[in-house]
Amino acid sequence: MSWRLWIPLLAFAGFLGLAAYQLTQPRDEVVESRMVGKALPYFDLEPATSGLPGAASDDFKDGKPRLLNIWASWCLPCIAEAPQLERLREEGATIVGVAIRDRPEDVAQFLERHGNPYAAIGSDDLSEVQLGIGSSGVPETFVITGTGKIAYQHIGDIRERDVPILLEKLREAAE
């Protein structure tokens, strides 16, 4: 018998090994936006609750970098990230919120309970801004330069360790 007879079996064993290895690897659930580096798409949203202005893409073109926070009052990780947003605000960040599929009274209740770090919140009932900016969930936070360019995307709730990173990205966006 020729040694070559074993080649198909070895190839199949190699394939099984590869498949088994891939099965043990954690699945990458994160869908990164391809809009990073591009201009913020046009939008003009109504205020999500009374007492705060709405959000429009033109607001981001006054030379000052901002954070764009995609969130919702029904989103649990958004509660976890509220203190970190507050810290970012204390450090001088301007945070514009976009509330996804939310009701004004729910937004107001959330802000009352967990604090209000937002300079403005727009109401996105059809997830139009979310789809336009390439975001696939809540919460997500984008760094927008003073000319309205998307500079950075943070996926998921902001943890303590993410605060300095976002502040650094804001500084970079100001240059």
Binding site: V31, M35, R101, L131, I133
Partner: protein
């Protein structure tokens, strides 16, 4: 009677937070078909090949997730406005990458998937020919 109702009531109470995401009605064209049957067919074909971004391996046509509804709304209003399905697909791919599309594309990373079966077939044919040539 009461003992039978209690679990149901408890289940409904526990489902409250899950329902919160649905507290807004779905987008106008999330579940409403377009009046033009040809356009609706185009939209339906496209929706079946777009991935729901918040669910596990479902198309937006199959998913009840609010975001999938909002994506169906986008597909339908864009088709109604005269965009072609491929324009809408590239609009989404521009934002989410190839991940959002279920339609296989030949690209820099995917070409081996298409090339390898052809190569294996050619190799198999070559082996058979040699065998039969020897026997004949």
């Amino acid at each position: 009677m009461r003992s039978r109702l209690l679990p149901i009531v408890l289940a409904l109470v526990a489902a409250g937070p899950l329902a919160a995401q649905q507290s807004l009605p779905p987008a106008p064209f999330a579940n409403r078909q377009l009046d033009d049957a040809a356009q609706e067919a185009q939209a339906q074909d496209l929706m079946e090949t777009l991935r729901c971004l918040t669910c596990q391996s479902q198309s937006i046509a199959d998913s009840d997730a609010p975001m999938a509804g909002d994506m169906r709304h986008q597909v339908r209003i864009r088709i109604a406005a005269g965009e072609t399905p491929e324009e809408i697909r590239s609009w989404l791919v521009e934002r989410y990458g190839d991940y959002v599309s279920y339609r296989p594309e030949v690209g820099a990373t995917t070409w081996p998937l298409f090339a390898v079966p052809v190569l294996i077939l050619i190799a198999a044919l070559a082996i058979f020919r040699r065998r039969f040539a020897r026997q004949g």
